[in-house]
Symmetry: C2
DNA sequence: GTCAGATCTGACCGATCGGACAGTTATCAT
DNA sequence: ATGATAACTGTCCGATCGGTCAGATCTGAC
């Protein structure tokens, strides 16, 4: 886990992250990654067991962040849960912009991924938190809309400073949920 | 254009639509489609010039619907533009649920697609309509959030009747834009 | 220097991809 | 019946895919 950083290894990860988020996992070949990273294809497979291992290592931090958000939501309900879920998810989506893009491109393929096995259940928990615990269709739909809105908006880079983007996404999400954003 | 329907041809299209939306364009092989359609891979290529031709034919109606929405928005501004854009886009996303899923999976690849060349510009027009003509960051971001919210929510099938989904999505989108949904 | 282990390369492998093509079968007007 | 055309199949092709492997090169401890 805590290996020597090996400059090339890190460079490979960065290159793969960019390519995966640009062209998708299936749309990116080991040859492509090697070319961008400036090494041979075999060098990739020296540092990583497989193409899938690269993906796993790239998505693990985001998965851990999502799990951490989940634990932060336990015990909360109603207004508190909704607000915590909104700010937590917005921060997460902004911190892992490219990872979100990767996830969204291959959702059907990815949810089967071993490192992401817990994601669907966590997303479900996040949805009920966004809905403030309500199971009414209107609240469920609004929660789902927030999920989509934040993911898509964070993934695509409009030329807005991150501070502004964060504040506006939180305000917009709260409006979507029918909660006044004026609150501290 | 108005060819004899050829039962198999239609069946191929339906099979490809399902597979593309489930596994993505790159994630679906001609062999897969042929298997689901119950014919040989060569039969596919008798009815369609290429895999890409299947995709084009599948996405063309959605592209036309989007173009139609665009023309319906010309001349409108402010409140009128926003409301027309919301209802129009919600209807479109619901009518082409699977197509939206395909588009979202391969956005970077797809926008280069010849049949979809006009889509980015149309989306931009749709965004300004959703923002009610405003170019303020807060309005632009809210418009983008609506785009994502509607697309994602329509694409994934939560078990809600389409009537309810449509009404709630419109109400939620208007809330996101900071406009009261009470209006007729 | 030298030697061991880490790092990296070129060549190669089997599988699968989209697609081409010659030939076979079904359909149908005459 | 027969000929023409549409519909379809089996087979093959070159390209590309992820991955393996034997060996070359680099590196630092001794």
């Amino acid at each position: 886990m805590a290996r020597p950083p090996s400059a090339l290894r890190e460079h490979i990860l960065r290159s793969a992250l960019r390519l995966f988020s640009d062209s998708g996992y299936k749309g990116t070949s080991l040859h492509d990654i090697a070319q961008v990273a400036g090494c041979s294809k075999a060098a990739l497979l020296y540092h990583f067991a497989s193409k899938d291992a690269i993906l796993t290592e790239l998505l693990t931090p985001a998965g851990e962040g999502l799990a951490a958000l989940r634990t932060r939501l336990v015990g909360l309900d109603g207004e508190q849960a909704a607000r915590a879920a909104v700010t937590g998810f917005v921060d997460l989506a902004l911190r892992f912009r490219l990872e979100v893009r990767i996830l969204f491109q291959d959702i059907p393929t990815m949810t089967v991924h071993p490192a992401l096995g817990a994601v669907p259940a966590t997303i479900r928990r996040l949805l009920t938190a966004l809905a403030g615990g309500s199971t009414a269709p209107s609240d469920t739909i609004a929660a789902y809309m927030v999920l989509g809105a934040v993911s898509v908006t964070a993934a695509d880079d409009l030329g807005v400073p991150e501070e502004v983007l964060r504040a506006e996404m939180i305000r917009g999400a709260l409006r979507t949920l029918g909660r006044e954003p004026d609150h501290p």
